[in-house]
């Protein structure tokens, strides 16, 4: 089954009450790794300390991954790799122009003399168009809001844990103290009051941009083209279209290297696409079991 299932197509039951689709564009090329988003998110949403918090030895990362108590996670990657300047053409004029572009785009900020670069990126729930977590949730605790975001209702979740391995990005996790799962709500409460999410408001460089998804996508396209021109050869928009395995995301990213370098899957899919073959196989196996049972009695001996 490759067609997305109709039942979850937004705006679904919202009809006229549906709002424009809201989302995040996280432009990692201007992230300075300050973790203001992590802190603002924790403060606003009153999230307990992350279990693994502490010195990890992974560069400046101390929250490691997204989970029940980390809804924004800032990744730090250290690479020895010069950006851009190598790709300048022969002439000095070209090189000067490229330098200027690199300055303008902010790409040069993290270049040290010895060619070390830091990639910093603030990760978050992607608020998938086809969200596997929501599809598998047996209680309906996970639901789609009028802003086309994906939110857990904490008064419904019974902690069955199905959504945890279902998410292709490993976003959700169970909180040990209360047994329920938690994740980014895209500040559903603030959105209802026409306020932007806490992380976007706190971000000092505007690396986290909040807005209507269509606007964000246009902005992201312009930014990507500029960076590509400035020589960021691996610059790429991640989850910015409708064509990927999750039908696009409400939260998408501009990355400076391949997704897996940031701990993101290069080809995430909503496994619901394979629902036909999954149920089909279970049905065939059930029929085979019936056949086996009948065969056991076939010889008619008592």
């Amino acid at each position: 089954m490759s067609e997305p299932l109709e039942i979850n197509v937004w705006p679904g039951s919202y009809g006229a009450a549906a709002k424009p689709r809201m989302g995040f564009f996280t432009d990692t090329s201007i992230c300075i790794g300050c973790k203001a988003c992590e802190v603002a998110c924790k403060e606003w949403n009153q999230i307990p300390a992350s279990p693994q918090q502490g010195f990890t030895g992974h560069s400046y990362d101390n929250t490691v991954d997204l989970g029940a108590d980390t809804w924004r996670h800032v990744a730090f990657i250290e690479q020895r790799k010069p950006v851009g300047l190598d790709s300048a053409g022969g002439s000095l004029v070209d090189a000067a122009a490229l330098h200027q572009l690199i300055d303008e785009t902010g790409l040069g900020t993290y270049q040290e003399g010895d060619g070390l670069r830091w990639l910093m990126a603030s990760d978050v729930c992607k608020h998938c168009t086809n969200a596997a977590c929501l599809e598998v949730c047996p209680t309906g605790a996970l639901f789609r809001t009028e802003f086309d975001t994906v939110v857990v209702q904490e008064d419904v979740c019974n902690g069955c844990g199905y959504c945890v391995p279902a998410c292709p990005f490993g976003v959700l996790d169970q909180r040990e103290e209360d047994g329920r799962v938690w994740k980014c709500t895209l500040c559903y409460d603030r959105l209802k009051d026409d306020k932007e999410p806490a992380c976007a408001q706190a971000c000092p460089t505007n690396s986290i941009q909040f807005g209507e998804l269509t606007d964000l996508r246009e902005r992201a396209d312009r930014r990507l083209n500029k960076l590509t021109e400035a020589g960021a050869e691996h610059a790429q928009l991640y989850l910015a279209g409708d064509e990927d395995g999750i039908g696009g995301a409400g939260a998408f990213f501009l990355l400076l290297d391949e997704p897996e370098v940031y701990g993101l899957p290069p080809d995430p899919v909503d496994t619901t696409d394979d629902l036909g073959s999954i149920w089909g196989a279970a049905g065939i196996a059930a029929a085979a079991l019936a056949g086996g049972l009948l065969a056991a009695f076939a010889r008619g001996r008592p």
């Binding site: 069955c160 844990g161 391995p165 999954i278």
Partner: protein, 325 residues
């Protein structure tokens, strides 16, 4: 090169040049604890036993039918207890029945369990006490039918996740679970029924055991190099134990158990233990494949390379006109 072989090559390539975030997993491994692999076993045992009991009754084999109904009863009462105790918020278990959701095998499975549980309890009560005769006439075939999906939906459940070796084995896993269920039901009844009446149970056990061994083989073949987690440390012993115990048990049941009750008990116990180990092997291997980013990223890169997946990234198209030259 088959699809999964080239995915395996990709896993190897990935290991040579690891591109991950400090080796952190990309997807989360399940938070489910020991209750869940045991439930895979008890659900299958209960489900297939109901079918065995029903057919035994229809063929006039009362001694076998009575025992099989009791085994089915044990299976379907232990199962929900295991499931509920694994919930993060056990007192909210009834939230499972707020909706019927085809995209969630756990939702469908909860309903199957409700139907199978109710009908099996009625059937077992009737089989042992003779009470509820009218209800039982409906309940018995219903229990036998509901037991079939009860034995296989758990495979659909774990296939419908991002755990690489579960999702990739979505076509074979239900066969592994179904044959394991047949083997368990046959084995349990073989052990508890006088040899004279246990013929169909023995045949079911042997058929199921052979099926299980074949289905696992088929699954590993389809997974190719992605079957590797089944043979890594911490998993291998379950994988191997499942095969050895199942094979030995099947031999005992096919041979000496036909006359010797002690051999029947021993063979039954071996096959049952094999089925338990098989579920643990699947459970542990899945968790391992989720923990290691190579199994997530490798096959995904391979999909992109062979254009079976579009990938999620888009590169820029620098517009020459905007260059400030």
């Amino acid at each position: 090169m088959s699809r999964s072989d080239s995915a395996a090559a990709q896993v190897r390539e990935y290991r040579e040049e690891p591109r991950s975030y400090y080796g952190q997993p990309v997807v989360k491994e399940p938070v489910w604890s020991w209750e869940i692999p045991w439930y895979f076993f008890t659900g299958g045992l209960g489900g297939a036993s109901a079918g065995l009991a029903y057919l035994a009754e229809r063929t006039g084999n009362e001694p076998l039918a009575r025992r099989a109904w009791l085994i089915a009863l044990a299976g379907v009462t232990v199962s929900p207890a295991l499931l509920i105790s694994d919930l993060g918020v056990p007192r909210r278990f009834s939230n499972m029945l707020r909706m019927v959701k085809i995209t969630s095998p756990m939702s469908i499975g909860s309903w199957i369990l409700v139907i199978s549980g109710t009908t099996t309890v009625i059937s077992a009560v009737h089989a042992t006490t003779g009470l509820l005769p009218r209800l039982a006439r409906l309940a018995k075939p219903a229990a036998a039918l509901a037991g079939l999906p009860l034995s296989t939906y758990t495979a659909a459940l774990i296939s419908q996740t991002a755990v690489p070796i579960w999702h990739e084995a979505r076509r074979e896993l239900p066969l592994v679970f179904a044959s394991g269920a047949a083997a368990s039901a046959g084995a349990a009844a073989t052990a508890l029924t006088p040899t004279r009446h246990a013929g169909p149970a023995r045949r079911l056990a042997v058929l199921g055991a052979l099926g299980e061994l074949a289905a696992v083989q088929l699954m590993e073949k389809r997974l190719g190099g992605l079957a590797d987690p089944y043979h890594r440390e911490g998993v291998e012993r379950y994988t191997r134990a499942a095969r050895v115990l199942t094979a030995l048990g099947a031999v005992a049941i096919a041979g000496p158990a036909r006359r010797d009750r002690r051999a029947a008990v021993a063979g039954g116990a071996l096959v049952l233990a094999g089925a338990v180990c098989e579920r643990w092997s699947v459970f542990k291997a899945g968790a391992l494949s989720a923990r290691d980013p190579a199994y997530t990223v490798g096959p995904q890169r391979e999909r992109i390379r062979t254009r079976r997946g579009r990938g999620a990234s888009r590169r820029g198209t620098p517009d020459a006109a905007s260059r400030p030259l």
